[in-house]
């Protein structure tokens, strides 16, 4: 079972990996976007990490809804509303249970991904975060590790695609040949599930 502590760890390790990868995300965003994806997400996840540390919510759902609200209030751009909606809707779907199992998390995350697709109007193949999130949610029933692998594969698979949503879409054919920064950061979020459970099992921190 996954408790609020697990979800706080998930957000914390994601904040750490976004910190670590911020430069790479921004570098991916400069040939096809406007070179700010890393710095924007970094600002948001730092705010999430600090808030969760100061006042840790009591339930898994509350951790994610609070994180989502903070991302909307701090990130800006498209990433703020999209990541914010992903976490907020996933959190709402978890309700106020004190603990949830992996299957409930997978269902809730699917609801979150659906909400993102509705908000941004993107579908798989549009070269967006959806290309990492949809395969990850499909694989989540097997294991966190399977979800991480699927998300990373999905992110890499955006390289030959032509962008149809977001800033990169204005480049048309010229967006081909670059890995999508949003799919890359989404893979970091999913990888955070593995790290959060490994941290928990090792009893560290």
């Amino acid at each position: 079972m996954l408790d609020a502590d697990f979800f706080i760890r998930w957000m914390t390790v994601t904040a750490a990996s976004v910190d670590r990868e911020a430069e790479r995300l921004t570098a991916l965003d400069s040939p096809i976007g406007d070179a700010d994806h890393g710095t924007n997400l970094q600002r948001g996840f730092r705010a999430v990490r600090d808030a969760l540390e100061k006042e840790p919510p009591a339930t898994p759902g509350a951790v994610l809804t609070q994180a989502g609200r903070l991302l909307i209030s701090t990130v800006g751009g498209a990433s703020g509303p999209l990541y914010g909606t992903l976490l907020r809707r996933t959190g709402k779907a978890l309700g106020d249970a004190a603990e949830v199992d992996e299957r409930q998390l997978a269902e809730a995350l699917r609801a979150g991904v659906d909400a993102v697709m509705q908000l941004g109007g993107a579908a798989p193949g549009d070269k967006t975060m959806i290309d990492a999130l949809v395969p990850a949610v499909d694989a989540l029933g097997d294991s966190f590790a399977a979800a991480r692998a699927a998300a990373e594969e999905g992110a890499v698979a955006t390289t030959p695609l032509r962008a149809r949503k977001g800033r990169a879409s204005y480049l048309g054919e010229r967006s081909v040949g670059h890995q999508d920064p949003g799919a890359t950061s989404a893979a970091l979020l999913i990888a955070g599930l593995v790290d959060a459970s490994a941290d928990g099992e090792a009893g560290s921190e």
Binding site: A35, D36, G76, G77, R164, G166, S169, Y170, G172
Partner: protein
């Protein structure tokens, strides 16, 4: 890359503090990043709120003042502001006559303003929105998020601002703003990429001797790269691209806009070529504005925006305006 900054993290806040010191007629909330006309809310007047990423100065904070915007929300560099800023701005300027959000067509701006509109309406503020999407360089919008909003933002903000100042109701101000957008088209070229403070190096590689055609205002590459051309040749490409999409029967407003690093000497010379091409194509010109208005940090280059107007729009364009970035008649 040398920049006149302290650290990248504080460029927006530092600029706002400097703006506040230079313009006591504006109320600048540095912490929450909202720039407001000091006399707002003005009783009975529709309020105009715009915003977007920083780095396009004087857009948008420089267009706050009588005759134009009631408030502006600057985001991080090239990043849309967050809904909290827009809700705060709307609450500060709403006199009860409603608020018009002027939104450029970028996914981030659209999503954040949509969220803000919902939140503001929950607080009892009547909100209307107009989307600016004038950039003809984005060709097959089937595969994109639609056309970008660029230079026409200035026309929309000025003309709708004058409409609001005259006391027109919200739906009328919104209709005027839409009419301006629907009759506006833009095309931009870059002679160099720009450098964001956070990245510290040019956002794309543009070799000497080449230029980018059909750029937006975020340092993203355009639709095509070609060997460098003369000012006259560039004017032909830009005006032709616009006229392929808009056949003006009425006179037009012309904005020859610098992207930030091109001096006025070049912009005026470019305007001479733009006027020549318009003359050859038989397009009557009502008013011309030349300068750096919708910029892209230190990008070199220029954009052309045409707006087909009628008598009412011309009257509203000529109406007095007093803002840091645009001022006449008062």
């Amino acid at each position: 890359m040398k920049m006149l900054i302290n650290v990248p993290e504080t460029v927006v806040a530092d600029a706002l503090r400097g703006m506040a010191a230079a313009h006591p007629e504006l109320a600048v909330d540095v912490e929450n990043r909202v720039i407001v006309r000091k006399d707002a809310p003005v009783a009975g007047k529709v309020a105009l709120v715009s915003g977007g990423g920083s780095g396009h100065e004087p857009l948008h904070g420089g267009f706050v003042g009588p005759g134009m915007l009631s408030a502006a929300c600057p985001g991080e560099v090239f990043t849309s502001p967050v809904p909290d800023q827009m809700v705060r701005a709307a609450a500060a300027v709403d006199s009860g006559a409603g608020v018009l959000f002027i939104v450029k067509n970028y996914t981030g701006d659209v999503l954040n303003f949509d969220m803000a509109a919902e939140l503001a309406e929950d607080e009892g503020v009547q909100v209307a929105k107009v989307l600016v999407n004038d950039d003809v360089a984005v060709t097959d919008s089937l595969y994109t998020a639609g056309r970008r909003g660029t230079g026409a933002t200035l026309f929309v903000e000025k003309i709708a601002g004058a409409a609001a100042e005259e006391g027109m109701p919200l739906e009328r101000v919104e209709a005027v703003a839409r009419q301006v957008n629907e009759n506006s088209r833009s095309f931009g070229v870059a002679l160099s990429a720009c450098t964001t403070p956070a990245k510290g190096s040019p956002t794309f590689d543009l070799p000497a001797g080449e230029l980018e055609l059909g750029i937006g205002i975020h340092g993203e590459p355009g639709r095509e790269r070609r060997p460098m051309m003369t000012s006259g040749e560039i004017a032909e490409v830009a005006v032709e691209a616009i006229l392929e999409d808009l056949t003006p029967r009425n006179p037009v407003l012309v904005l020859v806009n610098g992207m930030g690093a091109t001096p006025l000497l070049e912009l005026y010379g470019f305007n001479a070529e733009v006027q020549r091409v318009l003359g050859e194509r038989g397009v009557p010109v009502a008013r011309v504005l030349v300068g750096n208005y919708v910029t892209s940090l230190d990008m070199a280059g220029a954009s052309v925006t045409l707006c087909q107007i009628d008598e009412e729009l011309l009257r509203l364009w000529d109406a007095p305006v007093r803002t840091p970035g645009l001022r006449w008649g008062m």
